[in-house]
């Protein structure tokens, strides 16, 4: 059996006395798309942020591509990683944020080439060529010189996706990528993500877009109050939710 891309074992996260994640265990296989749904405050985003160690776990283990995230395990004890090593792990994990978080002082092209130039130390010409290809892939070849403030929300989010892809990630995390968008702009971002899934990218998507989940996801996970309530085939879960909490949630959003 090959190692899954993401393996979570009893992941816990506490903020002070507040327990946000109460033991999450799940697996995402290579090339798979997993959608995480659930009410706000259920811990979906926190879990996503744990995967690239933006948040430190309070308990459990998280493996990406077979490698423990954020720690070294030696003789049964966990040792915290050097920041440099944590940064190296994050390079291979792309992340797309709800509020885009593009660098406002850099053009679309500048945003995309930043990490390849400074983190991977690629040659400028190669990085720019690749970045232009990526902008073309998300349909923004003509916006390379525009600053984020001059782009619509949907365009900004597509630049953000191109920026994450520029690092050649093996895993992409999407944290409610369409929640901050006007309704008519949601489609263009989902189209890019759909294409990405078709190209075989492993993706974990926190979303409220049930249509996207039904159509694209290989698995659907419903979280509530820091636990996985229900998981399975998206068409199955959405059509015939077994758990009462899932039913209650879906009746509100569908």
């Amino acid at each position: 059996m090959t190692e899954p891309m993401v393996r979570a074992q009893g992941v816990r996260k506490q903020f002070g006395a507040l327990e946000v994640l109460k033991g999450i265990s799940l697996q995402v296989g290579r090339g798979e798309v997993m959608c995480l749904i659930g009410p706000s405050g259920s811990g979906k985003s926190t879990f996503l942020r744990c995967i690239n160690h933006l948040e430190q776990l309070s308990g459990g283990r998280l493996y990406v591509d077979g490698e423990l995230v954020g720690y070294h395990e030696r003789a049964g004890r966990l040792h915290e990683m050097q920041p440099r090593e944590a940064a190296r792990q994050r390079r291979d994990i792309g992340m797309v944020f709800q509020r885009f978080n593009l660098f406002p002082h850099k053009t679309a092209l500048g945003n995309v080439v930043e990490a390849p130039l400074k983190v991977q130390r690629q040659k400028r010409n190669a990085a720019v060529t690749k970045a232009r290809q990526l902008l073309d892939r998300v349909g923004l070849a003509d916006k390379a010189d525009a600053y984020p403030a001059q782009l619509s929300g949907g365009q900004q989010q597509r630049v953000a996706i191109a920026r994450a892809l520029a690092m050649n990630p093996k895993l992409m995390l999407f944290d409610e990528p369409t929640s901050a968008l006007d309704p008519e702009l949601v489609g263009e971002v989902l189209d890019v993500m759909r294409q990405l899934a078709r190209d075989g990218m492993t993706m974990i998507v926190v979303t409220h877009e049930m249509g996207f989940a039904r159509e694209v996801a290989d698995s659907l996970v419903f979280m509530d109050d820091g636990v996985v309530v229900e998981a399975g085939d998206p068409r199955e879960v959405l059509a015939r939710p077994q758990h009462q909490r899932t039913q209650a949630f879906l009746s509100k959003v569908l």
Partner: protein, 324 residues
């Protein structure tokens, strides 16, 4: 009470491309006599003041003309510039270090930075400068090395530090306390999402700071730093407390003791200070413009032109106006 307004349902006319264009407004402008009266009064007062200054013999304009470009004054002006440049550069560098210390997770660094700020902002710069002047009395010599073990260098403070450098140190340390607060405010003004996005891309703390956070913080940092620089230029006149007396104010004051005519020399000094601050203000304008890139939705002339071309000149003209 809310209810249906009389007048029936809203009527909306949709305008097709060949709909008749509404007539442009050509109204009689409102008269504003108050504005004219206020302007005349102010200009009149200003004229009276200029006339008084030109005819008042106490200003002694011929002496001003004679000393304005005196070699000694010019040299003093250069020294004022040097003091400002050295003290401000050191103040900014140290200020950034102090700001980063204050934002550090390390409680010791945070406290030390706070203590430094507390002292150097809490005491007058004049008093600090007097202290620096007494440096060689307080510390007769400085030893570099490992305490109680080895000694690499033995420095006599009175010969090693000239009054010029003591003045620079005094001004710089005072300045750094203010710069630290300005830089800290700038860093705090940058959205947390920026740090997160950079971290998620695998950038190190240093890269995140220098490539992402500080360039954005600059927009907040530069205007008050411009003020600080201008203020520093003028604060150099206090180094007479050290006592150092070759900068602009001290030098013109010494000259006026020779000529028994202080007022024209004050004007000479003021003229030079004004010249320098004016140059600095122009520089600040361009710096602010550089660091504002990407901050506005307003498009550059080049981008507007491209859009106009796409839209056809007639339709694009009012759009371009709006964007100015």
């Amino acid at each position: 009470m809310r209810g249906k307004q009389p007048g029936g349902p809203a009527v909306v006319t949709t305008a097709g491309p060949d709909a008749e264009a509404p007539e442009a407004i050509n109204a009689v402008p409102l008269r504003r006599p108050g504005r004219w009266i206020a302007a005349v009064v102010v200009v009149g007062l200003l004229g009276l003041f200029i006339y008084g200054a030109a005819t008042n013999s106490a200003y002694d304009w011929s002496a001003v003309g004679k000393y304005l470009f005196d070699v000694r004054v010019e040299q003093a002006a250069m020294i004022t510039l040097l003091l400002t440049a050295y003290a401000m550069t050191a103040g900014i560098v140290l200020g950034v270090v102090l700001a980063v210390m204050r934002l550090s997770p390390n409680p010791v660094l945070r406290s030390v930075s706070w203590l430094f700020l507390w002292f150097f902002r809490g005491t007058p710069v004049y008093v600090q400068l007097v202290f620096w002047g007494l440096m060689s009395t307080i510390y007769k010599h400085l030893d570099l090395g490992i305490p109680f073990v080895v000694q690499f260098a033995h420095i006599r403070t009175s010969t090693f530090f000239s009054y010029f450098w003591l003045a620079v140190i005094g001004l710089a340390l005072n300045e750094s306390a203010y710069m630290a607060e300005i830089v800290r405010a700038g860093i705090s003004s940058v959205d947390e999402g920026q740090t997160e996005a950079a971290t998620a891309l695998g950038m190190s703390w240093w890269q995140t700071m220098t490539r992402i956070v500080l360039p954005q913080a600059m927009r907040v940092i530069i205007p008050p730093t411009g003020n600080e620089l201008i203020s520093m230029l003028k604060t150099t006149s206090l180094v007479t407390a050290v006592p150092y007396s070759f900068e602009l104010y001290s030098r013109t004051r010494d000259l006026s003791i020779e000529t028994f005519n202080p007022i024209p020399m004050l004007i000479v000094a003021s003229a030079w200070y004004l010249l320098f601050t004016s140059i600095l203000m122009i520089g600040q304008y361009y710096l602010e413009r550089y660091f504002a890139r990407g901050a506005s939705r307003r498009m550059s002339a080049r981008q507007l032109q491209a859009l106009a071309k796409a839209q056809g000149v007639a339709g694009a003209a009012p759009f371009a106006e709006e964007n100015r």
